[in-house]
Symmetry: C2
Subunit: 353 residues, 2 copies
């Protein structure tokens, strides 16, 4: 019974405030289920560290982390002092790529006790999964600026999609759809406007569909799909999307369930050659940092996804149940209309576990 080696990376802003609550609940679940965890706190991958050292991470970051089973990650970004593209490309986006975490799994659920911004929706009405490609696509630093600084300035930005990268995430999404009662998959593209990559994505999805004929598939352009998240959220089961579209949909989906503060995510390397990364969808939220009002649920739920991925389904279920109970009864943080602090809410969930 080797302990699971977990790197704990709080990062910036409210990442530092929600991480202690995530760890509190993680330890409670580990104790209850006899799971051995070996936690290593990582001080880098933060803007503070960047300001001190001039880089987001030490040169040997990969060697330091490669032996880990998972990375438990808060949030990175402090745009007032470090541009976002510097901090993110120097940390989170590096992890996703160099550890080949090609599936970004983002559950969207409406809970009892959480005021829903959509009129008339009840818990159970919204319960779907966004499966986001996480290593390629629109997120690149390829391209450049021509005639820089002049009137003729011209910028080219390249997106890159590989069959390898696209097929594997589509396959993962179809497999997930197969495990769910509705077996429905929505494919987000924009083939009427983005004329090369998106029709090609459609083709890859159609070809993969041939291998999963039991799954019903719906192709939707990202514009109308976004509208339907608001108008018909109950129609979604599994939604698969490119890096950018998945990014948008996995903020929009949680917004439709009341708050970004709940949404967890799993950045998976399903082959387990590299550590996977578990993080809240919300970022570092500089606007609310320092007031102990951040909602810790996304961090805690991400910890549950981590335990699930490490083979501890029962511990995952316990944590999710505890989250459900505390959301229903309180204490709740201000984003949910309550007045509890981050740690009051975290403690309440830990106690239920």
């Amino acid at each position: 019974n080797q302990p699971h080696r977990i790197a704990v990376i709080p990062g910036d802003g409210i990442g530092q405030e929600v991480m202690p609550e995530g760890l509190r609940v993680l330890r409670a679940a580990a104790e209850r289920h006899g799971i051995a965890l070996q936690l290593t706190e990582i001080p880098w991958a933060s803007c503070d560290w960047y300001l001190q050292t001039g880089q987001m991470m030490p040169d040997d970051w990969k060697a330091q982390l490669a032996g880990m089973d998972a990375l438990y990650f808060g949030a990175v970004g402090w745009p007032a002092t470090v541009p976002d593209h510097v901090s993110l490309w120097g940390s989170l986006l590096k992890f996703r790529r160099e550890f080949d975490q090609y599936v970004n799994l983002r559950p969207v659920r409406l809970f009892d006790g959480v005021p829903c911004p959509l009129a008339g929706r009840r818990p159970g009405d919204i319960d779907f999964l966004v499966v986001r490609e996480n290593t390629e696509g629109e997120y690149t630093n390829l391209g450049g600026v021509m005639f820089a600084g002049t009137e003729r300035e011209l910028v080219i930005q390249e997106s890159v999609f590989s069959r390898h990268g696209t097929d594997r995430v589509l396959k993962h999404a179809f497999e997930l759809a197969m495990q769910r009662p509705r077996r429905h998959l929505t494919v987000a593209t924009k083939s009427n406007g983005i004329a090369i990559s998106m029709p090609w994505w459609d083709t890859r999805a159609r070809e993969m569909h041939a291998r999963y004929p039991e799954v019903s598939v719906d192709f939707q352009h990202i514009d109308i799909l976004s509208a339907r998240f608001v108008l018909q959220p109950d129609r979604f089961d599994v939604v698969v999307a490119s890096n950018l579209f998945g990014d948008i949909l996995s903020d929009l989906g949680p917004a439709c369930t009341g708050t970004i503060g709940l949404a967890p995510s799993a950045n998976l390397n399903p082959d387990r050659r590299f550590p996977s990364l578990f993080e809240p969808v919300h970022g570092s939220a500089p606007d609310i940092f320092g007031r102990q009002i951040a909602n810790p649920v996304a961090m805690i739920w991400s910890g549950a996804l981590m335990l699930d991925f490490l083979g501890h389904r029962a511990a995952h279920d316990d944590i999710v149940r505890a989250i459900e109970q505390v959301l229903a009864t309180g204490p709740r943080t201000p984003d949910l209309g309550g007045s509890a602090s981050t740690s009051e809410m975290g403690e309440a969930i830990a106690q239920r576990v």
Copy 2:
């Protein structure tokens, strides 16, 4: 008093059903305000025409349309027989580009009588303007496929942003913000992920802001911005975005006000060197075509925007007032919970004008 020359292009699907209502109201307003219109119905720019001729438009389309003052456009697209990227790149997207309609203006308003999908929002709470860049950006057919048909298949898709194209739409957005009481502008980018074009967009917006210091500016990443359309729609005044982001936000915004069926748009060539184009944001909607249940308001409101652009502000205001009244009292189409047909709703609006 030369008549305004207007090309009438119904296109496909419900474009054909809502166009007669748009024309009915246009004629009513023209009569009441003594506006001379010369309407020319265009049978091409439709998938039917494509199936007959093998192209979306005749070779001399530009010569035929260049003398027009405006194009009044329904919708194009019939994916069951013609792939969307073929039909759209062969018509609408050509108009936008070759007629240099670089501003796509899309008002978003919550009306009295329209059930709002967002809980607790009232008319007046949502009233903003999406200003979308309409000629370049992410919508390109540049790039290509390497190792096509093999395991190594790789797709490059290029986005193109020029200083010329970006600055002029930013300027237009700042000018619009200056005319509104709140003078607030939200800039949609994604500079933490899309590492070349988006930080550059931020820079262009910051530079333009220096010329409009009275406008308060907010930079928001497209993911969290989408979430805020749902959570805090009242905070928006003018939102400026790239072609793709504007596309997404101008479907999502109207969804938050109840239905895509209301949203109009103006594809403007502000220099007036070429005709501008006015069209509903909804597409051809094959799923509801043929049942006379399409909501004609977006088409009618687009006609009002056209009259405004042609110098007839009072006629515009009359039409918008008539729309407001009919939305409040009925008759209403099924998407608004009513049971009126497309033409019943159109007639009711025409009568009020």
